[in-house]
Structures are given as C-alpha cells and as structure tokens.
Symmetry: C2
C-alpha cells in the first residue's frame, strides 16, 4: 500500500469482507428464514389478507414492545407515516417545517403533502443528522417567537415542526435538539424510517419527539414488502393516528359514517403477517449487522484516505446502511470509486442528492448547509445486509 | 305471503339462496384457490417482496390486457389511484371537483388531498351513478365557461374535474356525462374502484374518461390485500403516473435524484403476486357473481315491497355488491331489515352515508340531491362473494 489514496484499496477490503459467491452484493436485501411462510399462508388460508385479520394488531403490539413506545400504528409505508405525523402535530397549509438537507426525499415530500414548505437544516459531521447548535443559531437569527408559535421573519410563515432524521441508522443528538425546539415552540417529529434498532442514550429512536415514523420498505432492517408505522407515547395522538389512517370511520355494526377527512393508509394484513415473522428475527438481524459493521471498521482502519463511520458513544446504531467517508482531498474520486465497486458487483451509492439541490426544492428557505454538502461529496454506502454475516 | 311488506320475506329468500353452512355470509370475501400460494412463495424465496420484482410489471400488463386500456399503473390502493388521477388532470388547490353524493368517502377525500373542494352531484335511479341531464341543468345554472375552464359563479372557484363513480359495479351513463363535461370544459376521471369487470356499451369501465382508478381492496372482485391501479390510454399521462407514484426518481445506476414532488404509492411486489394469481381467476369470479345476481333476481321477483337492482341494457355490471331497493313506502323499515339479516348471520349494509351528510363535507357546494337521498333511504347491500356459487 502506498501513501497515495487508491480506490482499489476500498475494493480490496470489500472483496475480503463480502462472501465470494459470484453474486452481486446488494446494499440491503431482506432475509426470509423465519415464520414468514407460515404466517402468510395463514392469511391466504383464512382469506384475511386485507383490512381485517389479527396480524396487524399483533405487529403493532410487537413494534410497540420492541421500541418501548406505547402506541404503534401500522401503515402502508414510511412516507404515509410521516404525512400523518405532520397532520397530527398540526402542520397546516402555509406553515414551514424544518427538514434536514441530507435525507431521503420523502421527508420533504410529506411536508408538501400538508401544503407546507420545507426549510432546510444543516447536519453535524459526528451524527450526519440535524445540528442542534447550528439550528439554534439560525433560529435566533431568522425566527420570532409569538403567542401561537415560531415565525420566520423573512417569509412570514409559521415554523410549526422539525423532522430530525436518523440517517442510515445513526441517531441525531436528540436532547439538545429537543431543547432548541422547545425554546422556539417547534414540535419534534422523528423520522426513524432508517433507525429501527437504533438507540439514543439507551432509549429507542422514535420515542424522543412527540411522534415518529418507521419504515419497513424492502431495503430496511425488517420488511413488510412495503410498510411503515407511527409511534407515539401520547394516548390521544395514538388513537387519532389509528382513526385517521383507517378512513376515520365511526364504529357501527353497519353504518358507514366518517367524521373527518381520513386516509386509506392501513397496512394490509398479509404485509403485517410478513412483519410479524420478521420481528421475531430482528434481534438476530441487528446482531449480524453490528458484527458486519465491526468487521468493516477493523478492515478499513488501515486504509488511507477513507474512514468507516461509527456510532457516537451515547448512541447505538443499527448500522442500517454502512457509511464510508472519503477524505476531503480525495472526494473528487467518489464517482470513480462508485464505478469501480458497482462494476465489481458490489452495490454502492452516494448519499441522496441534497434536498435544496433538487429542482422542486431549490427555492425553499434554508440555512448555511456546508456540512451537509461536505458529507454529500464524501459519503458512500456499502453492502449492509444482515445475511452477509451468515455462516461466519 | 300476504300483501303487506314483511322483512321476513327478504330473510327467507336469502336463506334459500345462501349456503346453509352455519357460517356468517359476508358481504364480500376473497377466494384464494388459484396460484396465490405459489406466486407469493416465489416472492419470499427470491427475496423480492418490495419495490423490485417481476410481479408488479406482470400485474400491470394483465390489468391493461383485461380492461383493454393501454396503461395500468399498480398502486397501494384505490384512494391513492384517485389522488394521482386528480393531480394528473391538473386539479389544484382552490379548485372544485364534481363528486357524486352517493359514493365511498375516498372519492371526496382524494379531492381534499389536492387542496380542492368537492361539489356534490345527484344520482339517477337507473344507474345509481351521476345523472348527466341533472348535472347539465345544474352547470347551466351555476357555471360560467371562461378561457381557462369552467367556473362556479357562486364560489368563484374553477370546476376542474368530475369523478363519476360506478356504484356497486353498475356503470354510469358515460356518453351523455362525457358530453356535458366536454361542453363545460370539465375533465372526466372515472372512479372504477368497484367496477372491475363492468362494461358500458361493450367497453370496460375506466376507459371512458381521461384517466381512472381501480381498487383491489380485500372486499373487491379480486384483491391484492390492499391495492389499486391507475388506468389511462394517454401515453404521456401513463408515463407520468408511473413516475409520480414511484417517488419521481430519475433513472441512474446510483444517483438518487428526484425531479418533482412524487408519492410512495407503488404496489409492493408481494401484493402484486397475489394480484397475478387473482387475475387468472377473474373471469370465473365474474361468471359466478353474475349467476348469483341472476339467482337473486329470480328469487326476489315474487317478493313484494322490494326490488333487486339489475344492470342497464347498454351495460354489463360485475354485480360487485348486490343491491336491494326497498319500496319507498317501506323505507322506514330499512334498519329493521338490516337488524334481522345481520342477526341471522347474513351480513347486510345500507349505502354509505351521503357525502353532504358527513360533518366535514356538510358545507361543500351541491345541487339538489333528492334522488341520492331517495336511494340512500332504500338501499341494502346483500352477500355477493363469488364462492357463494361454488358447487351449485
């Protein structure tokens, strides 16, 4: 190994770590080696595949138990969960919502679904997520606290909520973020779509704000095909979340009456059946993903020019998608690395295009985003499936 | 049998027609006796349960082929399909959309998701759906045609679209409705959620307007657990529908770039697998449902005070949910009938509460709704599952 940075050194490590089975190593693939088959069969045999059936209740109880949150409401996907979270904390048309620039597009889209405008926030390098100190300084400069909330002095719009997103499974520094948001009367919604199995100061992500969203998309730690959940410790919000995601129908033996504009966001029973089986394997998946991250950490340690991103001491990450950060001076080689790895059947990807770089969000309010831009230039996701640690 | 109307006469017919197996006869239950199991197993065995996998494409091709529509885009449910249809024909915040008063709440909710206001339209007794002549008279009285569309003179809002809904599978009289809408520059979106397998003048419902929505909820003719589809013959709309329902991501080997505010509405592959198997049985289901409707028709013919609702000569109904209409003078006994049937384990239900009677829609613009109100007082749905005709 020379002193100079060489993309091939990254390829070499990955080739050593990943199974040599001739297959493409995907970023994240699900694993169905538990009771998926028998639960799904039960759905088909009983005919209960849709909006009735016991697996939805069971899955919701299982998620609540695992995360330690009082109420879990299963929905069709993480985007739907976020949309409802925003509605439930009272985000209205014309409001602004603080959204990280470094996130999957759904975080910003859900804000638009409410007729509100995303306002982009920078990340801190140590968590990849929202920077509480930088946000505080920004709000001090642009915001005005009134009787009914926080207002953006420049746009005149109310800043109703913030959506910290635990990027790639790494928890945002929630305590200082909550302090800032409390001080500025901003509601906190956690986007925990990527962080099932991640903890901040010993408490599961998704229980540090007022309400939060999980995802069980096919690329997540566990999957229901497509699916998500709303988490909250607030009994009234939990009941309302269930009501509004199931068309807001009033209970009656036969009448079809609805008392508010609801959504058809309920997770079908067949998808929940898959989820119940996956939940039984979750601890095992997390342990394997943790072992893989550890192996990556050790294996990349001697490689110059690149750092394997690890969890903070106060946090425990699920290492959903493992992250490499290329040193600043080699960042211009990011696409060469991506090309080399993908050509060698090792799926790898840069971070999402930053939100303010997307055409439809380029005119939204934002703070200085230099850290998110720095991360975005340097980040690469590498294969992270739990089963990569099978038989080792 | 006396000359006087007697609710027991209805019960007696249903007891004769329905299987005497000691089970509750549901309104509509799915039937999984085809390849459901093997296709779903294929998903689990290959790990392709989510947003990748071949069953979504295959299901979309199958739906397009069956309905004779050029493009079918599979989505998470019928509500999502309607939402996207409204977006794609250009319904914007502040617009009005013509919606039948007699419909499932999703038709109106989807309008609200776009920031628009539903404007309720009456039904005609022969189809249960939108009354084209009455709508024409209403628009002549309240609307003004301007360069950029039709405007409601009373509210000042643009009336951008109409959503005829084929209630319980019975096709709306589409030709005169299309004429009225064309004359008033109103786009036509068909809500065909209930009418897969229903035809108007020999052409499948959902291909008479610009774009339309299907549903594969658990209570529909075929089911994907939860699911729906957008249908259109317009190549540009079809491509846009696919793009916008799949987060509007631009194709690239690794970059995650999105060029518009999209939705996470794609049907998971595991649900599409179920749909592929169900589609193979669709003709059989429709034949059985048709035979059941015929049996009901003959069996209810001698019963005084009630009429079994049948298709128009120019249409073919899928008889999704079979409809009884109680004579006007006995309408006050509707709830007694519902009670009697449900107590005897024969699930039956009135029509949906009319949209303008729901709290959240009580202030919306509307025309005279006397026919919808009349139908609503008199209508009862009775068990309609295809498998009720098994082994006969």
């Amino acid at each position: 190994m020379t002193d100079k940075f060489n993309p091939r050194a990254i390829l070499d490590v990955l080739k050593r770590v990943l199974p040599d089975d001739g297959k493409t190593a995907s970023l994240h693939e699900p694993c169905f080696t538990g009771n998926e088959w028998s639960y799904v069969k039960e759905c088909l045999d009983t005919g209960w595949v849709s909006s009735a059936g016991k697996f939805v209740d069971r899955f919701e109880r299982g998620i609540a138990e695992f995360t330690g949150v009082k109420y879990a409401i299963a929905v069709v996907n993480g985007t739907a969960a976020l949309h409802v979270c925003l509605k439930l904390v009272g985000v209205n048309p014309g409001d602004e919502v603080l959204v990280p620039a470094l996130t999957f597009v759904a975080t910003a889209n859900a804000v638009v679904y409410c007729g509100a405008t995303p306002h982009f926030v920078d990340s801190e390098l140590k968590t990849l997520g929202m920077d509480p100190a930088k946000l505080a300084a920004h709000l001090e400069s642009i915001a005005e606290i009134r009787e009914d909330g926080c207002y953006n002095k420049h746009t005149g719009r109310r800043i109703k909520a913030a959506i910290p997103m635990h990027a790639f499974g790494h928890p945002v520094d929630m305590d200082p973020l909550n302090s800032v948001c409390k001080r500025f009367k901003v509601e906190v919604i956690e986007d925990a779509a990527e962080s099932l199995g991640s903890y901040y100061k010993g408490v599961h992500t998704g229980s540090h704000g007022k309400i939060s969203a999980l995802s069980f998309n096919g690329n997540k730690v566990i999957t229901t095909g497509g699916g998500g959940a709303i988490l909250t410790n607030d009994v009234d919000l939990g009941k309302l979340a269930k009501h509004i995601t199931t068309t807001a129908r009033l209970p009656h033996p036969w009448n079809l009456t609805h008392d508010m504009v609801g959504y058809n966001y309920r997770l079908p029973n067949i998808n929940a059946a898959l989820g119940c089986a996956q939940l039984e394997c979750l601890e095992d998946f997390l342990a394997k993903k943790r072992a893989l991250a550890k192996l990556y950490e050790t294996s990349f340690a001697p490689v110059r020019g690149v750092v394997f991103f690890t969890e903070q001491k106060i946090s425990k990450s699920n290492y959903w998608l493992n992250v490499l950060l290329i040193d600043e001076e080699n960042a211009d080689q990011r696409d060469d690395i991506l090309k080399l790895l993908n050509e060698n059947r090792i799926q790898s990807r840069p971070a999402w295009d930053l939100m303010h770089k997307l055409h439809m969000y380029s005119q939204c309010p934002r703070m200085d985003l230099s850290v998110a831009e720095n991360i975005s230039r340097r980040l690469i996701n590498i294969p992270s499936s739990a089963f990569l640690m099978d038989n080792r």
